[in-house]
C-alpha cells in the first residue's frame, strides 16, 4: 500500500483560525463608530478625507511593492488602517490633496522604506501626520466647529490660549472642534473596548497611558477628566499606542510604554508649545520600543540567577 502524496512538514500540524487579515478587520470595525460620527458631524468633507486618505495609502503600498517587485499585500488590510487612522487625525478643513500627500508619506516613508508590514519602527499614520504638521502647519491647525461649520479652536487650544474649558458632555459626544477622530471620546472608547474584548489589544497600554495622564494632570493641578476626553488621547491610547508592530511585545514593556507616553503627553500639553502631545508622545516612545523589549524580557521557567 502506498499513498505517494502524503504531505510531510514540521509540527505542529494544526493552526489556529486567526489571521492577520482578521486582526486588521477587527481594528477597522472598531474604528467605524468614530468614523461614522465624524461623517455625521462634519458631513461630506469628512467622508472625502477618509476615502482619499485610504485610497492614497493603499495605492502607495501597491505601487511601491510593484516597483520593488514584491508581492502586493494590500489585501492584508494594514494600509487601509493607516489611511483611516491618518484621516482621523487631520482637520475636516484639510484640502484633499494635502490629505493624499500625508497618506503617501505615511505608507512610503513611514512603512515601505523599512521593508513593509512588520518592519517599521514608527506608527505609519503618525509619521504621515507629523509630516503634515510640519509641512502644512496652518492647514493642520485650522479647525471648524461641527455645528455651524465656521472656524473654531479645539478644546485643548481653547484651554491653552484662552483658558476656556469645554464641558465634559460635548467632549464625550463629540460636537467639538478638532480632527475627524478627536471628537467623540465615547465612540472611541466603545471601539477600544471591542478590541479588548476581541483580544486584539492588551489592556496594559491604554490603561497605563490614560492612567498616567489622569494621575499626573491631577497632581499638577489640572482637570484629569478634561485631559482624558479632549484631543487625540482616546484615539491614540486605543488605536495608535497599541499598534502591534511599533510597541513592545512584553507585558511589562507595554506598561513602561504606556507610562512613558502618558508622561510625554502631560509634559507637552501643560508645558510645551503645542496644545496637543499625543502624536509626539507615541512617536517618541516608538523609538524606545526595541530597548524596552530588551530590558523587560520575562523571567523564563526555571531561570537560575547566575553571577
Amino acid at each position: 500500500m502506498d499513498y505517494g502524496n502524503l504531505v510531510v512538514s514540521s509540527s505542529p500540524h494544526i493552526r489556529s483560525e486567526d489571521t492577520v487579515q482578521r486582526i486588521m478587520m477587527d481594528v477597522i470595525i472598531a474604528l467605524l463608530p468614530a468614523t461614522a460620527a465624524s461623517i455625521y458631524f462634519f458631513g461630506f468633507r469628512a467622508m472625502a478625507i477618509v476615502v482619499v486618505s485610504i485610497l492614497a495609502a493603499v495605492a502607495t503600498e501597491a505601487v511601491i511593492q510593484k516597483i520593488r517587485k514584491k508581492p502586493v499585500t494590500i489585501s492584508d488590510g494594514s494600509a487601509v488602517i493607516t489611511g483611516l487612522l491618518l484621516a482621523l487625525t487631520i482637520s475636516p478643513a484639510m484640502p484633499l490633496w494635502m490629505t493624499a500627500v500625508g497618506a503617501v508619506v505615511a505608507i512610503g516613508i513611514g512603512k515601505q522604506v523599512y521593508g513593509g508590514l512588520g518592519s517599521n519602527p514608527f506608527n505609519p499614520a503618525l509619521v504621515g501626520r507629523a509630516f503634515l504638521v510640519v509641512t502644512f502647519p496652518v492647514h493642520m491647525t485650522t479647525w471648524i466647529n461641527p455645528m455651524d461649520g465656521v472656524s473654531s479652536a479645539t478644546p485643548l487650544n481653547l484651554l491653552k490660549m484662552q483658558g476656556i474649558k469645554t464641558g465634559y458632555m460635548p467632549l464625550l459626544l463629540g460636537n467639538v472642534g478638532g480632527s475627524l477622530g478627536e471628537t467623540s471620546a465615547l465612540l472611541l472608547l466603545i471601539g477600544g473596548i471591542y478590541l479588548l474584548y476581541r483580544g486584539i489589544i492588551d489592556w496594559r497600554i491604554p490603561v497605563s497611558y490614560l492612567g498616567t495622564v489622569a494621575v499626573l494632570t491631577l497632581v499638577l493641578g489640572s482637570d484629569p477628566v478634561f485631559h482624558l476626553l479632549a484631543g487625540g488621547l482616546m484615539l491614540g491610547a486605543f488605536f495608535m499606542a497599541t499598534d502591534m508592530v511599533t510597541t513592545p511585545v512584553t507585558k511589562s514593556g507595554r506598561l513602561v510604554f504606556g507610562i512613558g507616553a502618558g508622561l510625554l503627553v502631560v509634559i507637552i500639553r501643560l508645558y510645551g508649545g503645542y496644545p496637543e502631545g499625543v502624536l509626539f508622545s507615541i512617536l517618541l516612545m516608538n523609538t524606545f520600543t526595541p530597548i524596552i523589549d530588551r530590558y523587560t524580557r520575562p523571567r523564563i521557567y526555571g531561570e537560575v540567577k547566575t553571577k
Binding site: 502506498d2 509540527s11 505542529p12 494544526i14 492577520v20 492588551d202 512584553t250 523589549d293 521557567y301
Partner: protein
C-alpha cells in the same frame, strides 16, 4: 481530590477533537502477519540483534540487546520466524536496522515470561531490573528508557513521582481509555515506581476534560495515602514535563536541568501500566494502546497494537483511509511526526496514528510578523518566540543563546497561535540545535 484545577502560565487552546475516540472502549488489534521491529525505539544507543535470519522466535523473547547504559532491550511481539534484518523506514524519521518477523499466529510464549511476584516482596533493585528487562521506555512519545530515569546519581535525591495522564495533545485518547479501563495497572506501576526510588509522594495528574478518568483513578487509589490525584486545567501543553511539575508541586526544573534536579521523576500513565503488567505477568513491552483517529480514517478507534505492526495494517483495521488524505502523523497534531509512508511500524512511543484530510491541514502561506506577541503570551517557558525566530532566520546564534533558545521545549504553541502562519518552532528548533552543537564543541 483537589477541587481546584492546577495549571501553568501561557499555553494555547487548540480544539480537542477527542470526540472521535474518547467513548470507544479498547479493542485488541489483530495479530499482524508481519512485524517490523526497529532495534532503536528509544532515546539513546540502539540495540544489537540477538537473532539471525531464519531463527524461530517466541512472543516476548528478547531480540535486541542494549549497547549502552541509556538504552532499552527490544522484544518480539509475535511468535514466528525472522524473515529479515535490514534497514527499514522508522516513524521517527530515516532508516533504522529492524528485525522483520513473520508471525506463525500461535503467540507461543517465551519461557522467560512468568509473574514477578507481589510488589511487597520486590526490592528497589528488583523493580529496576523489571523496568530494564521489560524494555520500558517513556510511552508518552519521548521514549526515554525508564530504568535510567530511576537510577539518578546519589547527589540528586528524589522525593516525588508524577504520573502524566494529562494527554494534552488534541485527538489522542489512548491514555484516557487506559485510565478508565485499567486503572489498577496504572496504580500498581506507580506504587512500584515509588518503591524503586523509595519516595513517599506520588501524583497522578489528569486534565479536567476527562472527569471519568479522574473518577476511575481516584477510586483505584482509595486507601493509598501517598498518592494524590490532581485535576489539571485543560490547556496545551499541560502534559509537558516541566509544566506538569510546576502544576503539581509548584517547583521548577532549573534551566538546562532535568526533573531530577528538583527531586521529581515524571512518567506517562502508559509506562506505569506497562510496569504494572510486567510485574503481574512478566510480559515485556510488546504491545501498546494506539489511538487511530482524524478526519482521514474511516472508523477511528483505540486499539491495543503489537509493536512492529505497520501503520497500514492498523489503518486497514479502522476501515482504511478516506479520500484526499493529506497527512499521516505519528502522535498528536501538536508535536507528532508527519510520515511519508504508511509502511512504518508502530513502536513503543506511538501514542497515536493521526490521519488528516488535505482540507484540514490549514496550510497557508506565511506573511510578515506583525509583532502581535501572541507567541509571547503562549510560550509556556516565557521565551520571546518572535525574537528567537528572527535570530534563527538571520543566523544570530549568540543572540538566540542570550534569549535562552535552548530552554525551548518545542511544544509548538507559538506556531499554532501565529496569525501570520509563520513556522516559528521549526526555525527555533533549528537554532536551538545549532546553539547546542556550538556549546558541545566549545566544551571539547
Amino acid at each position: 481530590m483537589q477541587l481546584k484545577s492546577l495549571t501553568f502560565k501561557g499555553g494555547v487552546h487548540p480544539p480537542h477533537h477527542k470526540h472521535y475516540t474518547e467513548h470507544l472502549p479498547l479493542k485488541k488489534a489483530e495479530v499482524p502477519k508481519l512485524v517490523i521491529i526497529p532495534l532503536q525505539q528509544h532515546i539513546g544507543a540502539p540495540c544489537d540483534p540477538l537473532v539471525q535470519v531464519g531463527d524461530e522466535v517466541k512472543l516476548g523473547q528478547k531480540i535486541g540487546e542494549p549497547k549502552g547504559f541509556v538504552s532499552a532491550p527490544i522484544h518480539s511481539s509475535v511468535s514466528g520466524r525472522v524473515a529479515a534484518i535490514e534497514q527499514r523506514p522508522h516513524p521517527g524519521g530515516g532508516l533504522v536496522l529492524s528485525v522483520v518477523i513473520e508471525s506463525d499466529g500461535l503467540d507461543s510464549l517465551d519461557e522467560s515470561i512468568k509473574p514477578r511476584g507481589n510488589l511487597e516482596n520486590l526490592t528497589a533493585e528488583d523493580i529496576k531490573n523489571i523496568m530494564r528487562e521489560a524494555g520500558l521506555v517513556g510511552m508518552g512519545g519521548a521514549t526515554f528508557p525508564t530504568q535510567v530515569k530511576f537510577s539518578p546519581p546519589a547527589d540528586k535525591p528524589i522525593d516525588t513521582v508524577i504520573l502524566n495522564g494529562a494527554e494534552c495533545e488534541p485527538y489522542l485518547t489512548a491514555d484516557h481509555r487506559l485510565m478508565l479501563e485499567n486503572a489498577g495497572d496504572v496504580v500498581l506501576g506507580l506504587k512500584a515506581m515509588m518503591k524503586a526510588v523509595n519516595v513517599k509522594k506520588g501524583y497522578i495528574a489528569i486534565e479536567n476534560n476527562k472527569p471519568d478518568a479522574i473518577k476511575a483513578i481516584a477510586e483505584a487509589v482509595q486507601g493509598e495515602g501517598d498518592i494524590e490525584v490532581v485535576s489539571l486545567k485543560t490547556k496545551y501543553p499541560q502534559g509537558a514535563e516541566k509544566q506538569l511539575i510546576k502544576a503539581c508541586t509548584g517547583r521548577e526544573v532549573p534551566s538546562g536541568g532535568l526533573p531530577m534536579d528538583c527531586g521529581v521523576i515524571v512518567n506517562n500513565v502508559g509506562t506505569s501500566a506497562a510496569l504494572g503488567n510486567a510485574i503481574k505477568t512478566g510480559m515485556p513491552l510488546v504491545e501498546r494502546i494506539v489511538t487511530i483517529t482524524g478526519s482521514g480514517v474511516k472508523e477511528p478507534q483505540n486499539l491495543v497494537v503489537r509493536i512492529g505492526t505497520p501503520f497500514a495494517d492498523v489503518i486497514e483495521q479502522c476501515g482504511g483511509l478516506a479520500d484526499n488524505v493529506g497527512k499521516v502523523i505519528q502522535g498528536g497534531p501538536m508535536m507528532g511526526i508527519a510520515q511519508y509512508t504508511t509502511e512504518v511500524p508502530v513502536i513503543k512511543g506511538t501514542s497515536g496514528i493521526l490521519v488528516l484530510k488535505e482540507e484540514d491541514l490549514g496550510l497557508k502561506p506565511e506573511i510578515a510578523c506583525i509583532k502581535c506577541a501572541r507567541c509571547v503570551d503562549a510560550c509556556p517557558i516565557g521565551l520571546l518566540p518572535t525574537k528567537l525566530e528572527g535570530f534563527a532566520q538571520k543566523g544570530m546564534l549568540q543572540e538566540a543563546d542570550e534569549y535562552h533558545v535552548i530552554d525551548c521545549i518545542e511544544c509548538g504553541s507559538c506556531s499554532f497561535i501565529c496569525p501570520a502562519k509563520r513556522p516559528l518552532v521549526e526555525r527555533i528548533r533549528l537554532a536551538k540545535a545549532q546553539v547546542m552543537a556550538e556549546k558541545r564543541k566549545a566544551k571539547q
